[in-house]
Symmetry: C2
């Protein structure tokens, strides 16, 4: 996605000593002047920060970064570190007391944030992203790696992610619109529900791919499916101890208003609904953000129509990639096989 | 207010060296089991945390504390410290992985927060409430002082507060309803608009007092009024460099639903509108919270009707007390006289 950069900071114990961390933070960094933004909160148990200012009735027009993080409500501390990094780089909302003000920049970086529940996944309830984790994720966006491919799988805020008893994580997808504009999605897949259709073992989201995109992704063979069923996988949503949350950021280079960004953010919820079932449960705090870098002019009505539909599909496709990119992780509080380790026959020719 | 405790932590340079802090944090602490809560965001420039979960459609029913803080968006870091204090005391939403879980409590404290803009008021742009400030405010609620009278004036989140060119601060007011139930308000008065009616020098909110409450508060004499006018005081809201925000917490011991708390919170905005003009401007992030300790049963419709009307007046009256309790503060970026120093003739017999 031109103009945006992504940085991950994962906290993952090097050894499986059953007392470690399995969490992290991911920053989506806007251009220095900020991006127009919107949000859609759909899950029953959200944990958020600086989302009220995204209401189109509020004055602040642009945000400087979006933070997605593990650690449940504790993880909101990671935003302190993202703000510190942006302030040190002079990026933020200008609050100089007057035009005559000299000296260091007086800026307030605007960093909306949302959390996923992954507390204790690595065994240590106290291992959570903090300001240092947020700063590390921000710094990861500003290095050379920020210009390359965005990391997927068990990285950043997806480090401790689980989906329906399988390993979850980070996924991304993008599409080029007729105008040449781009829409892209980044998802932290950590849902109480399942991304897998239990009777067939197929990924719900796979049918929403671009032409041919998931052609090499077949149904699992009968033996694998029977073995998974015997293991109680994939699991649907269980109430009680289980807590989850899937987050997404949809971004475009088209110029959108704050209200249009809020509509685009709502498409993230729809894209999630197509890829996970059940979705937006009582134990999910699903929250979707949308960003407009405004590098291209505003779309006409037809262009906006296309953007919204293709954007929803980007979230759905990003969830497929999150599942495929996840690797198996053994931890003290349970084993989460990956989709690919459970159903190796499904992937015909994927690297 | 029975069941709730308030703690302040102010950051105020001991000497007027023109490079100090003038900010702070205030915590309203619920009973250990939490309080039902609601929020109303009305200003154009809010800075908030954990407000989405207060939507009546969201699952979390109770909050453990509300943080009001200076520092603009940076000040949201103070909530990290309040959460740390609550966690250390075992207070929070129970997230044990199962009933068999042993060992330390797995809790996630729910601490909605909102900020006022006071950056640079003491001269040092980098002096802001952080996690340590939030923890100190939390600790101040748990000491013996927490059981006594609530501090007003230039304390806690009101340390750097300004209102219409005069010193703002913290104010409180309460009322006993016909049923014997209590409603109480705490306000951080830091508004772009004025609490003073410029032509007369009277406080807008004074006419909403209980019978006789503000009887000793007369209009200023003509000489004082003329002198104030010559000094350009009170100032109305100026756009540009000025940034503000007034926060309030309304609390009752009546049992309310989350939706009813949201309605009570909206009364906070109405109470503010009666006491400050202009209000909810483009540079205010005015946010009101409401808490129900549920110590008494739910009110009937007449009781709810009374609660809402009296609650709004409590916020208006708390603003009068905030103005009267403020003391003059000299800082490098300007002098803010207090209402009482500007109009000493108004207060006939107040201590």
């Amino acid at each position: 996605m031109p103009g945006l950069r992504v940085g991950h900071a994962g906290m993952r114990a090097a050894t499986d000593d059953r007392s470690g961390a399995l969490t992290g933070s991911t920053v989506v960094l806007a251009p220095p002047g900020g991006a127009v933004a919107g949000v859609d909160v759909r899950g029953a148990a959200p944990g958020t920060r600086e989302t009220d200012l995204l209401d189109p009735r509020r004055m602040v027009q642009r945000v400087h970064a979006v933070l997605l993080t593990g650690g449940s409500a504790y993880g909101l501390a990671a935003a302190d570190g993202v703000m510190a990094g942006l302030e040190a780089d002079g990026v933020g909302f200008d609050v100089r007391p007057g035009p005559e003000h000299a000296g260091p920049a007086w800026v307030v970086p605007i960093v909306p944030a949302a959390v996923v529940f992954d507390l204790g996944r690595g065994g240590d309830f106290a291992a959570r992203p903090d300001a240092a984790t947020g700063l590390a994720a921000y710094r990861a966006t500003t290095g050379p790696a920020g210009g390359g491919a965005v990391g997927q799988g068990v990285v950043g805020a997806g480090t401790g992610a689980v989906v329906g008893g399988l390993k979850g994580g980070i996924g991304t997808a993008s599409a080029v619109l007729e105008s040449g504009a781009v829409v892209a999605a980044l998802v932290v897949l950590n849902a109480a529900g399942s991304a897998v259709h239990p009777p067939t073992g197929e990924l719900y989201g796979a049918r929403f791919g671009l032409p041919g995109e998931f052609a090499d992704l077949g149904p699992p063979d009968a033996g694998e499916l029977a073995a998974a069923r015997d293991a109680g996988l994939p699991r649907g949503a269980a109430m009680g101890a289980l807590r989850a949350t899937t987050l997404s950021v949809l971004a475009t280079d088209l110029t959108l208003s704050k209200a249009e960004c809020a509509v685009l953010a709502a498409m993230g919820a729809d894209g999630l609904a197509r890829a996970v079932n059940p979705v937006h449960t009582l134990v999910d705090g699903d929250t979707s953000f949308a960003l407009s870098t405004t590098a291209r002019p505003a779309p006409g009505q037809a262009g906006l129509h296309e953007l919204l539909a293709v954007g929803a599909d980007c979230v759905t496709r990003a969830i497929v990639y999150a599942v495929l990119a996840a690797d198996p992780v053994r931890t003290p509080v349970g084993d989460w096989p990956s989709y690919r380790s459970l159903f190796p026959s499904t992937v015909v020719a994927r690297p």
